[in-house]
């Protein structure tokens, strides 16, 4: 499917606005098991992305993803900057010079996830954003082309966030808490869920 500049802009705008609106929730989650800056950091990063919306809309898809990635890297401030930034930089690399999405969106998503794993030297099960992104990728692959794809992705993301609560963190600041990180959902998993669901909601509204 091809992605018109206006569609891309509306997706980026919706995702950014949703994350910005979620900042207080993300901060509260991060105060429980991290250093309490995830909401403010994501808000700053995605406000900067909103500021580049016209540039993003004017670029080929791969370049647009790279602009988003670079903006997040340069403005977020916490570890989530390089993590989300690397996701978009790597996804952008896999799309370079194309305005069309490949038939297999999952492939692009997988490239992004590969970069997050490498940047954080982490794997699923460690109470991180990967615990949402990896299940979402599995659903994107399993339900590709199905009419209820968007719903299934949304459900997967919500369920995956909830599943981070009983996990013990072994990466990031939360790992200092050891077993005391158990019982709290992971802020990075939650912000990933917010982004994924905002994209699903916007695509659904345009159908």
């Amino acid at each position: 499917m091809s992605l018109e500049p206006e569609t891309l802009k509306s997706l980026v705008k919706a995702a950014a606005e949703k994350v910005i609106a979620s900042a207080p929730e993300l901060t509260a989650l991060d105060q429980a098991i991290g250093d309490g800056d995830h909401g403010a950091n994501m808000k700053r990063g995605f406000e900067a992305v909103l500021g580049k919306l016209d540039v993003i809309g004017s670029q080929p898809l791969g370049e647009a993803f790279k602009t988003i990635g670079k903006t997040l890297v340069m403005t977020v401030g916490g570890a989530s900057g390089p993590l989300y930034g690397s996701f978009f930089l790597a996804a952008g690399d896999s799309l370079l010079q194309s305005r069309d999405l490949p038939d297999d969106v999952a492939e692009v998503f997988a490239c992004g996830i590969g970069a997050v794993r490498a940047r954080g030297r982490s794997a699923p099960g460690e109470k991180t954003m990967l615990d949402v992104l990896v299940p979402v990728l599995e659903t994107l692959t399993a339900a590709a082309g199905k009419p209820d794809l968007l719903n299934r992705v949304r459900e997967t993301a919500s369920e995956a966030v909830a599943r981070t609560a009983p996990m013990q963190a072994t990466k990031g600041r939360a790992s200092f808490l050891g077993a005391r990180s158990i019982g709290h959902i992971d802020p990075g998993a939650r912000s990933s869920c917010v982004l994924v669901q905002a994209v699903c909601d916007t695509l659904e509204a345009r159908q």
Partner: protein, 130 residues
């Protein structure tokens, strides 16, 4: 003066970064280039890729630059900053797995003695091994 490995200190707090740099200068002298940064782009506690790149440029030496960091985000942001350097510089910058204050002092001492980038890193990282 022959070139020595440069030292960059990256803390979440600008005060800690500056204080560490002050200690290095007092203990090792001024023959080693030391740059530091701390704080997120909004001025709060955190780290910040553009400032890290700037600090690497300030401490730049043909022998390379060793970065000392405090907590997780400083390490991730420093690694990201290294990747964003010009390709010919990337291999000449290392992020040391060492405590920030002791690591910076040990690394700068080794650098002042003419140590290579690998030697500087090894001396700093010995602190984490024990």
């Amino acid at each position: 003066m022959s070139d020595t490995v440069g030292i960059v200190i990256v803390s979440h707090s600008q005060d800690i970064a500056k204080g560490t740099a002050d200690m290095v200068r007092q203990m090792v002298g001024s023959e080693v280039k030391v740059a530091f940064c701390g704080g997120d782009p909004g001025g709060g506690l955190g780290t910040n890729v553009p400032l890290i790149i700037e600090a690497i440029d300030k401490a730049w030496s043909p022998k390379g630059v060793a970065i000392l960091v405090d907590l997780g985000g400083a390490e991730t942001n420093s690694e990201m900053a290294v990747e964003m350097l010009q390709p010919e510089r990337r291999d000449l910058v290392v992020v040391c797995n060492a405590p920030i204050v002791e690591g910076a002092v040990m690394a700068a001492t080794e650098a002042a003695g003419g140590g290579s980038l690998e030697q500087v890193r090894a001396v700093a990282e010995e602190l984490s091994a024990g």
